[in-house]
């Protein structure tokens, strides 16, 4: 019932501007948080961030960088989800990552190596190199400058290239 009520509100407008904001923010948040936390957790975090935006849409107007803010909201949600998972600490001899790295599909092993990059390097490579976003767009998401994003991309790519060279792909 709550759902239909909100949708009716949308149809009546007051929030046509939110729909416009949503169209702009959704792909960026979904893709960036998926790059940071993986497909499932990242998509869920992006949906939570956008829901928070919907529920607090009056606060968005005064924000200088609302999408960057929502990235942080989604990131917080994702970290909470990670924290709530009650899974024991992996054993020291866990070889799962090694197995992923040895997978014969080079794109899958690349993703496993990508997962080992620091979060910001990972998101920067994912968004800029993989998906063609501008440095400035990713900078506003991550709350840093364009040159810092460029540095993250350069270092992340360098590590991935090194992996490819080592595996002679």
């Amino acid at each position: 019932m709550r759902c239909s009520g909100l949708l009716e509100t949308m149809d009546d407008d007051p929030s046509a501007s939110f729909a416009s904001f949503f169209a702009q923010a959704e792909p960026r948040l979904r893709l960036a948080l998926s790059g940071a936390f993986g497909a499932e957790l990242g998509r869920e975090a992006a949906a939570d961030a956008l829901a928070w935006a919907w529920q607090n849409r009056e606060r968005l107007d005064g924000m200088h960088n609302p999408i960057g803010y929502l990235y942080r909201v989604g990131r917080s949600q994702a970290l909470r989800d990670v924290r709530r998972r009650e899974v024991p600490c992996p054993r020291g001899d866990d070889r799962g990552m090694e197995e992923a790295r040895e997978d014969p599909d080079p794109q899958l092993t690349l993703l496993a190596v990508l997962a080992e990059l620091p979060e910001r390097q990972r998101v920067a490579v994912w968004m800029v190199h993989g998906l063609g976003y501008r440095h400035s767009e990713v900078a506003s998401l991550l709350g840093c400058s364009s040159p810092t994003v460029a540095t993250h991309v350069r270092r992340g790519l360098s590590r991935l290239r090194r992996h490819l060279e080592e595996t002679r792909v």
Binding site: C3, M10, A19, F22, E26, G35, A36, G38, A39, E40, L41, R43, L50, G62, M63, H64, N65, R72, V73, S76, Q77, L79, V82, R83, R84, E86, V87, P90, D94, R95, G96, M97, E99, A100, D103, Q107, L108, L111, A112, L114, A115, E116, P118, E119, V125, H129, G130, R134, H135, S136, A139, S145, S146, P147, T148, T151, L157, L160, L164, V169
Partner: protein
Amino acid sequence: MSELHDDLIARAVRRAADGVAPITLAEVTARGRIPDPVDDDESTTNGAAPQGPSTGGPVMVIDLERERAAGTTGTAPAPRRRWPAMAAAAALLVVAAAVGWAVANRDEPVDVAPVETPSAADPLERATRAVDEFIGVYNSGDPAAVADWFADLPNPLDLTKHVDPAYQWADDRWTRIGPCRIQDPSVVCPIRREDDFHGAAGLSLEDDYAFRFDDEGLLVRLVLLEGDPWAEHHAFRADFRAWAEAQHPGAVGSWFPPPGSYSAELADMPTAEGMPAALELLDEFIAQSDRWGP
């Protein structure tokens, strides 16, 4: 080869990203209340936004099964072993959960959204933040990271002479010593520069630097408002060079740039290659000098 690798990386990312279904507006508006990222966090009783832990490392959960499925659509299916991918996905989940476990047990605050303030929209504040970030990168001593800040220009020397690697070899450190001001289209900030080479003579520099950034946030202009306030520094460099050439003939010439190869500000200063050797002689020079000392 590098281009092939870059292309492979881009395709792997696109393939993975394509597997993340778009979020609909209806899905978002149907969600229950999302707790306020600040109010909800027990660590933020004062309303401040703490800096959360980094997720650096393998926290990313890649759905390898989904990637496999995506990879087989539209292409000839190749025989695949399923168990390694499943094991890998499970292992990645375990690693991610372990990071979460570690986060939960470190008694550190979970990252929360920052409190957005009206001043964040202030162009001066944004420009000041950019300058501070540039200074932080410069002080880290990584010339490649510094170079990333510069836009591609036909004559980059004008831009880069203030951050020549020779300065960084001498552990040049920048400090913003006061508020910046907008002097359109630049932002002007008072900077103190201290390095080991000039510092041995008791010299530092305090002056206004004008930074101009382009739309991408890259530096297109970096100048001293005073022009060349290094008169005393030049005198010190000249005395040092004359002493070094007298005391160590033959060794010193290669420490300095060939005539005409550098800007006037740097022509009398050891190059990045010569700076380490020059620094080793500084104590000897200072000990014998009547004029220079800390």
